[in-house]
């Protein structure tokens, strides 16, 4: 695998994860539980979609085949997407959305912190930019972890159910393959084992303080590295890509 191929794949992983979780969050627009939360989630969604535009734009440049970030976002099929499985999971209730966001925010908080010192200058710049935003998001989701986890009996139960459902998708966040190995060697990407240690050290005390339990199962759902997704991604793409596919050359 060449450095260029590895970079392209890696940038798709970063960009696709941001795009898909950004799209998921945008689905809350107009239906948040309270106005402030509606606004908060849409602000966060906007940051992710902006981040995806930048990473997919850079992916297209690295690929060098004349594609643009829009081509990558709107004209690829499900099996070509490299977003983490956790990002495509449905919003469910507010407990699910917050739990999904918290587990993912902590991951990107440490991943992007490491990417700030990537030897690829563009990746380092984008990570520096996004890390500031993620810090802000994480503070928000952490507060809601406590509030709902250690809230009423019902909110606690919903949070625990969300944790039970989503935990299985966290394992693959730290899977590494030839893409990672190639980039680690070149100082472009970090070793995810280290990120895993930081992630665990961060999420465990928050989950405990929110009076929640980490599920005892060891099952790990994986597949995003090879483009194998849960059934939810296809529906999401159908909606997200429909306008662009109906009017492929539309400009506004």
């Amino acid at each position: 695998m060449t450095l260029q191929q590895a970079k392209f794949q890696y940038l798709l992983r970063l960009g696709d994860s941001s795009l898909i979780i950004g799209h998921r969050l945008s689905e809350w627009c107009g239906s948040g539980p309270i106005l402030e939360e509606d606004i908060a989630l849409i602000n966060i969604a906007l940051d992710f979609v902006g981040n995806a535009t930048a990473f997919l734009g850079y992916a297209a440049t690295v690929e060098g085949n004349g594609r643009t970030e829009d081509d990558l976002a709107y004209l690829r099929n499900e099996r070509e997407f490299r977003n983490l499985l956790i990002t495509e999971q449905p919003n469910g209730d507010y407990a699910s959305t917050i739990t999904r966001q918290f587990l993912y925010d902590v991951y990107t908080y440490y991943l992007y912190d490491a990417l700030k010192s990537s030897k690829d200058e563009t990746i380092a710049a984008l990570a520096t930019k996004s890390h500031k935003e993620i810090t802000y998001h994480l503070r928000h989701t952490t507060e809601w972890m406590y509030r709902l986890g250690d809230g009423t009996a019902e909110s606690h139960e919903r949070m625990q159910n969300a944790m039970n459902d989503l935990w299985m998708f966290t394992g693959e966040m730290f899977d590494m393959d030839e893409v990672d190995q190639t980039l680690i060697k070149e100082g472009v990407a970090p070793d995810l084992n280290k990120i895993k240690e930081q992630w665990e050290a961060h999420v465990k005390p928050v989950i405990a303080e929110a009076t929640l339990q980490i599920p005892s199962y060891n099952f790990k759902q994986k597949g995003s590295r090879e483009g194998k997704h849960s059934e939810h991604l296809g529906f999401l793409l159908a909606e997200m890509q429909s306008v662009h596919r109906a009017f492929p050359d539309a400009k506004w």
């Binding site: 940051d47 563009t122 520096t128 500031k132 810090t135 928000h140």
Partner: protein, 164 residues
Amino acid sequence: MSTTPTTENIFKLLSEIPDPEIPVINIIELGILRDVKQEGDQCTVVITPTYSGCPAMKVIEDDIRIKLKEIGIDNVKVDLVYTPAWTTDWISDEAKEKLRAYGIAPPEHSSIDKSLLTGKPRHLRCPQCKSENVTMISQFGSTACKALYRCNDCKEPFDYFKCI
């Protein structure tokens, strides 16, 4: 035929472009306009977003093109850069005063620090009555760069320009 405008002139002209969402300050005061380069008949304008997904960037790009067309520069390239990452530190004290007068509490600390993650209280004042007795309503406000607060003394809600 007019003489070629200097880079200084171009900066001055572009300083007339207000931020689309906070029209009391211009794109130079906000730290969005980073550089202007002239090469032959091409003018390259370098801008950086406040937030990655800031929807105002496209409007700002269009405003720059329109402004430069006014003085006969048609060959305009607008480059969006991400490094160095934008920070509220770049907002001048003068601009902060304009924000306050407009009813937006300006960013209080210097740049991002650990307090953003732990949520330590900030010392910010109500832009209307200057009271420090304020409550945060939401960390996220009407635009990506603002949070929503309320003054407990004069009871007015107000926007706070988030520190990043």
